[in-house]
């Protein structure tokens, strides 16, 4: 029997595996610090890491704004209105002479708070309901499901517009409206997690001890469902920021005297500004896109790293 020796070209993966094998055989990997597997997978995801960096930069810029700009966001200086970017105003001024760069930084605070606050608020309601209703099932679950389906099937923007005209414009009202329209999808997601966890044997064991339903659902089952919930929160944040932006652009979001990214964009409704004063809408647009993209990348990275079926 002739031995056929086939020369196999070593791929990049092959070389990586060779290195690992040598390390393992020399015993170098034995006493490694137990780096959290999720962190390691996350760090390997280049987009996710880029997302974290951009996110942190924008966060610092906005919340430490006084360090980066000396202007007041509301300071009206009509003499210098609609100025192009220059040394004194790096992104120019708007219709009322306010410094655009400052407005973006301070505006970021509000937009981020609205986004994050709404996501967390919606999660608080949706997860609490989903946790208990998903565990108990039955009539309560059915009722809440129908309500959530109702909320989800309404065209969202129209619902928000309706509520804004009824309740009025203010930052708090916007938060409340967002939370009221946003809890449904969190509810359904938490409920789905609960449904699969309900059949786990440790839950049955707790029932065999006669332990209270609330304790079982919130203390014992919820921690195991947090992975997908955390991912959902990051992705919802991005979505809410975009919603706030759209509403403020239409003039229906936060009142126009408070600067938010959407309110800044609002100026671009004027065709002349759109054509001639690019500094008033282009930078804001870029910042919004960057922020939303970075949050999405972080969410994707979290989801991939906590997914046990992805090898790494």
């Amino acid at each position: 029997m002739e031995k056929s020796v086939v020369y196999k070209r070593k791929t990049k993966l092959d070389k990586k595996m060779d290195k690992l094998r040598v390390l393992e055989e020399s015993g170098a990997l034995k006493n490694q610090k137990k780096v959290n597997r999720y962190l390691r997978k996350f760090k390997n995801n280049k987009l996710a890491v880029a997302g974290v960096i951009v996110f942190i930069i924008i966060l610092i810029l906005c919340f430490a704004a006084p360090l980066f700009t000396k202007y007041d966001p509301g300071a009206i200086d009509v003499l210098n209105r609609l100025q192009e970017p220059s040394k004194s105003h790096i992104l120019g001024t708007d219709k009322l002479g306010r410094d655009v760069f400052t407005r973006i930084l301070y505006g970021g605070r509000v937009s981020i708070v609205v986004g994050l606050g709404s996501a967390l608020g919606a999660a608080a309601i949706g997860v609490s309901l989903g946790c208990y209703a998903g565990y108990k099932g039955g009539f309560l679950d059915n009722v809440i499901m129908r309500i959530s389906e109702l909320m989800m099937s309404f065209p969202r923007i129209i619902l928000v517009l309706l509520l804004v005209t009824i309740v009025g414009q203010s930052l708090n009202n916007l938060l409340i409206i967002f939370i009221c329209t946003g809890w449904a999808s969190m509810y359904r997601m938490a409920r789905a997690q609960m449904l699969s966890l309900r059949e786990e044997e440790y839950v049955q064991a707790l029932k065999a001890f006669g332990i209270n339903d609330f304790v079982i659902a919130f203390k014992h089952m919820l921690p195991n469902a947090l992975g997908p919930i955390a991912v959902n929160i990051t992705l919802s944040t991005a979505m809410f920021i975009l919603q706030e932006t759209s509403l403020s652009y239409l003039g229906l979001g936060v009142p126009l005297d408070i600067s938010t990214w959407g309110n800044i964009l609002n100026a671009a409704q004027d065709l002349r500004i759109l054509r001639e004063c690019y500094w008033m809408w282009l930078p804001v647009g870029i910042i919004i896109s960057l922020f939303v993209l970075s949050v999405n990348f972080i969410g994707d990275g979290l989801r991939d790293s906590t997914d046990p079926t992805q090898q790494g």
């Binding site: 029997m1 056929s4 086939v6 034995k30 090898q311």
Partner: protein, 333 residues
């Protein structure tokens, strides 16, 4: 002798590289699969038996590879080194399914739920043999009938969820046998099935083996299955084969301490309440923290200094054992 051996595995080593570690799942495994005979590979979880099967079929996941060793398939066209073929190349894909076939443990997830069973059997047929649609369908019906599925003309157009567990496993066997493979690899085919259904499936496999002269490699953890089905046995522990031989040799005269300890730790039907079962002391070692030399050393009653080096394969009369102290083991039996 040459005519009998259909597949030879020589010193196979398969390593896994997940989680940035190197796991030597299979670390030097050799055996032969003979035509018309059943080789049972028996071992507990983590010993590497399933990895051996997927290595032969070249179905290993991305972060793993065959490091060393040879897998030689003695086909009618000559000897083919399966380990050197491209994983998803034309040659391997042609062999896979038509000359070497595999059936898996869980019949519920091995069949695609969105296609009819007939479609899946016909797909395998069309892939490997040139057949018209009509001929393929009647062949599929004939296969289902041979496997003991009642009303095959109706069943061929039904979906997997309309089949019971035992029937699904039969459908899987039908798919595997559709191209009359020389080697059938069965990875714990009946573990998920009820005992009475298991008996049916084994009877079926026995019949197929005798009619088609197929070489069967059956992976199991159940010594009872070995006693009933095997012609030859290979006992695996922590990535090595520790003992091989005919089923008579290994079950009546176990020469490796692990084989003996395993046989003594299982309750045997019919021996009554007063049989003594002795658990094997200790636990299977962490694959990343292996003992030096013989892997069974820390748990072995016959451990001596010599065991710090991996024992050689000692073969007497076709009965292979990897233990320096096999003579004492035989004496104490």
């Amino acid at each position: 002798m040459k005519n009998d051996v259909v597949l030879s595995v020589k010193n196979l080593k398969t390593f896994f590289y997940t989680n940035q570690r190197c796991n030597k799942a299979v670390n030097g495994v050799s055996f032969d699969i003979k035509r018309g005979k059943t080789l049972c590979i028996v071992g507990e979880s983590g010993c590497g038996k399933s990895v051996t099967a997927t290595s032969i079929m070249r179905l290993l996941p991305k972060l793993s590879r065959i490091e060393e060793g040879e897998i030689v398939y003695h086909s009618s066209k000559g000897d083919i080194r399966l380990d050197t073929l491209k994983k998803n190349g034309k040659e391997m894909r042609q062999i896979r399914g038509s000359e070497i076939a595999m059936i898996f443990q869980d019949p519920m997830t091995s069949l695609n739920p969105v296609y009819t069973v007939g479609f899946q059997v016909i797909e395998n047929l069309k892939n490997h043999r040139k057949m018209s649609k009509k001929a393929a369908k009647s062949e599929a019906i004939r296969l289902l009938k041979d496997m003991g599925i009642p009303l095959p003309e109706q069943r061929v157009d039904e979906y997997p969820h309309q089949y019971s567990g035992g029937m699904r496993q039969r459908a899987m066997i039908a798919m595997a046998m559709s191209c009359n493979p020389k080697v059938l690899i069965a990875d714990e085919p009946t573990t998920a099935l009820d005992v009475t259904i298991q008996a049916q499936i084994f009877e079926l496999m026995d019949k197929l083996k005798k009619e088609n002269d197929t070489a069967v490699m059956m992976i199991t953890h159940d010594m009872g299955v070995v006693a009933e089905m095997a012609d030859d046995v290979a006992v695996m522990y922590m990535g090595n084969v520790v003992e091989t031989g005919s089923v008579d040799q290994v079950l009546r005269k176990p020469s490796h301490p692990y084989t003996r300890a395993l046989l003594e730790s299982i309750p045997v039907l019919g021996r009554g309440k007063n049989q003594v079962i002795e658990p094997i002391r200790g636990v299977t070692p962490d694959p990343f923290d292996r003992p030096e030399g013989c892997q069974f050393g820390p748990r072995c009653d016959y451990y001596c200094d010599k065991c710090k080096t991996m024992p050689d394969e000692i073969t007497i009369d076709g009965h292979m054992v990897r233990c320096w102290n096999y003579k004492e083991v035989l004496k104490d039996a």
